[in-house]
């Protein structure tokens, strides 16, 4: 089961288009609707979302999107909202199971755009299995950013099952010099915006997070044109069973650099 999310800042808005079919063209059950979840008084507040829909898609307009709200498909049977909880839940859970065994993830199209006509999109999802505490994200930054562009930033999206807004550290680390070049905080259950100074965009500089998982999405803006894409998790570049051991070894190196400074 996948959650969906958007992003918003001073210059950029977003919209989501969620299909009513899977990658094989099979229609989802027509009882499914789009719901949103947002933290309120340390609980998840679940609401049915205002959407436009046609035979094939649900469309979530920019006015419904902020950096905290998430969206998902469910129906009354699977949602388990009743008079007792009045739309409030202590935890998120698997709200639908219709694509859990699909080879290709059930994805929405996340489109970001500015007022000048620039736009970029990707087929986006946040899998329910990624909504857990702890872990580290490691990603190179230079492949998807542009040191000559007007602006570079990373949308770091985290979703936890628990309705918590806690801060965890991120670092920009130079692997060659083994130095932390910049650092800051990212908040759980949020689409965080991490500004990237152009001087950081070098082949040996990596984004590393401490005790927080998520999806880093790299955005470049130049002359009103926008490019947005996510990186792969490092274990996906190794197809043999040693992948997690190799990645663990590299992540330990980054942890040592953090601890040494």
């Amino acid at each position: 089961m996948n959650f969906f999310f958007g992003f918003k800042n001073e210059f950029i808005r977003s919209e989501l288009t969620i299909p009513k079919f899977n990658f094989q063209g099979e229609k989802i059950d027509n009882t499914y609707k789009v719901f949103s979840a947002e933290i309120l008084n340390k609980s998840w507040k679940i609401d049915q979302t205002q959407i436009n829909e046609d035979d094939n898609f649900f469309k979530i307009d920019q006015s419904e999107i902020n950096n905290k709200k998430i969206f998902f498909l469910s129906n009354n049977k699977e949602l388990k909202i009743d008079k007792n909880n009045q739309g409030f839940l202590n935890t998120l859970f698997n709200f639908n199971s219709f694509t859990d065994n699909d080879l290709v993830q059930f994805r929405s199209n996340l489109k970001i755009f500015n007022s000048k006509g620039g736009f970029s999109s990707y087929q986006s999802d946040y899998n329910h299995n990624l909504c857990r505490q702890g872990g580290n994200i490691l990603s190179p930054i230079s492949p998807l950013l542009n040191k000559n562009a007007d602006e570079n930033f990373i949308i770091f999206r985290n979703i936890l099952l628990e309705p918590d807004n806690n801060n965890f550290k991120y670092y920009f680390i130079c692997l060659k010099s083994e130095k932390i070049l910049d650092q800051g905080f990212i908040t759980t259950n949020k689409s965080n915006e991490i500004k990237v100074d152009n001087s950081l965009i070098k082949d040996s500089v990596f984004l590393f997070t401490e005790n927080i998982l998520g999806i880093p999405i790299f955005v470049t803006v130049d002359n009103d044109h926008i490019s947005m894409e996510h990186t792969h998790p490092p274990h996906q570049y190794i197809l043999t069973k040693d992948n997690f051991d190799l990645v663990k070894k590299i992540k330990n190196k980054f942890k040592e650099i953090v601890l040494s400074q």
Binding site: T17, P19, F21, N22, F23, Q24, G25, N56, F57, K59, L103, V104, F106, R107, S108, N109, K111, G117, G118, F119, S120, S121, Y122, Q123, P140, S142, P143, L144, N146, A149, L175, D203, S204, F218, T220, V221, D222, N223, D224, H225, I226, S227, E229, H230, T231, H232, Q236, Y237, I238, L239, T240, K241, D242, N243, L246, I250
Partner: protein, 249 residues
């Protein structure tokens, strides 16, 4: 022993072909010292340029010196050129010029990591291709289909560009996106071991092994691809005035 036999490449191809416990890709995951490349599109046709950004996987994961080799083919899988890059950095970039692709409009390239030392693993390079339209910002997309392989110490061969599984049964792939731009194109590559008859919306094409094609999406809000390939996933080029958005379907 039987388990190992069941995972050899020939048996995997047969499993995929007859849809018996299909693996979708013709990859023997028990092999070692293999470099796998996604099939990456390049285009230098009207107003386009292409840039490739990649990670030196052998240096990053194994801290060993290595080179990369990039092989360029036209849209009919004719070999055009190759380059070898002695990569000392973790990440590199390469701009694909008209000269390197001999003034052909579009095609496919593959990247392989090369080293004389053993790594006991299979690497998959699925890095990032940027497309610039009318000299504007490159719009980046990651690779999405393992397509070709080579032993990390072997020389170039035109074989092994067929890692996508093919079946005797019909397969449908529908992109989970609504198409409503002024102009949209979908690039597809046949990286299966056999020639394919493909129906893209209403357009029938015959795509030989290794060949690629650009389909114009016209007056349709859906993109439906019918073939005998397991996952014939396109790269989408979406235009609004002079703005470009590229992503994988």
């Amino acid at each position: 022993m039987i388990k190992k036999l069941f995972k050899t490449e020939k048996i995997i191809k047969l499993r995929n072909f007859f849809s018996i416990s299909p693996t979708f890709f013709n990859i023997n995951y028990l092999e070692k010292n293999i470099s796998i490349s996604d099939g990456f599109f390049w285009r230098v046709d009207d107003n386009f340029s292409t840039k490739f950004k990649f990670t030196n996987l052998i240096k990053f994961y194994f801290n060993k010196e290595s080179n990369v080799e990039i092989f360029f083919f036209d849209n009919n899988h004719n070999y055009l050129n190759q380059i070898a890059l002695n990569t000392k950095n973790y990440s590199e970039e390469y701009i694909i010029t008209k000269k390197i692709v001999k003034n052909i409009n579009f095609g496919v390239f593959y990247i392989f990591h090369r080293s004389n030392t053993k790594i006991d693993s299979i690497l998959r390079n699925s890095c990032y291709v940027g497309y610039s339209y009318k000299n504007s910002l490159y719009s980046y997309v990651h690779g999405n289909t393992p397509s070709a392989k080579k032993n990390i110490s072997d020389n170039f061969s035109k074989l092994n560009y067929d890692l996508l599984g093919s079946s005797i049964f019909k397969k449908k792939y529908v992109v989970q996106k609504k198409f409503n731009s002024n102009k949209t194109e979908a690039m597809i590559l046949n990286s299966t071991p056999i020639d394919q008859r493909i129906l893209i919306n209403d357009e029938k094409i015959f795509l030989k092994k290794g060949h690629s094609y650009i389909h114009q999406i016209k007056d349709k809000e859906l993109l439906e691809i019918n073939s005998k390939c397991y996952l014939l996933r396109p790269i989408i080029f979406e235009y609004e005035k002079d703005f470009l958005n590229v992503y994988h379907g």
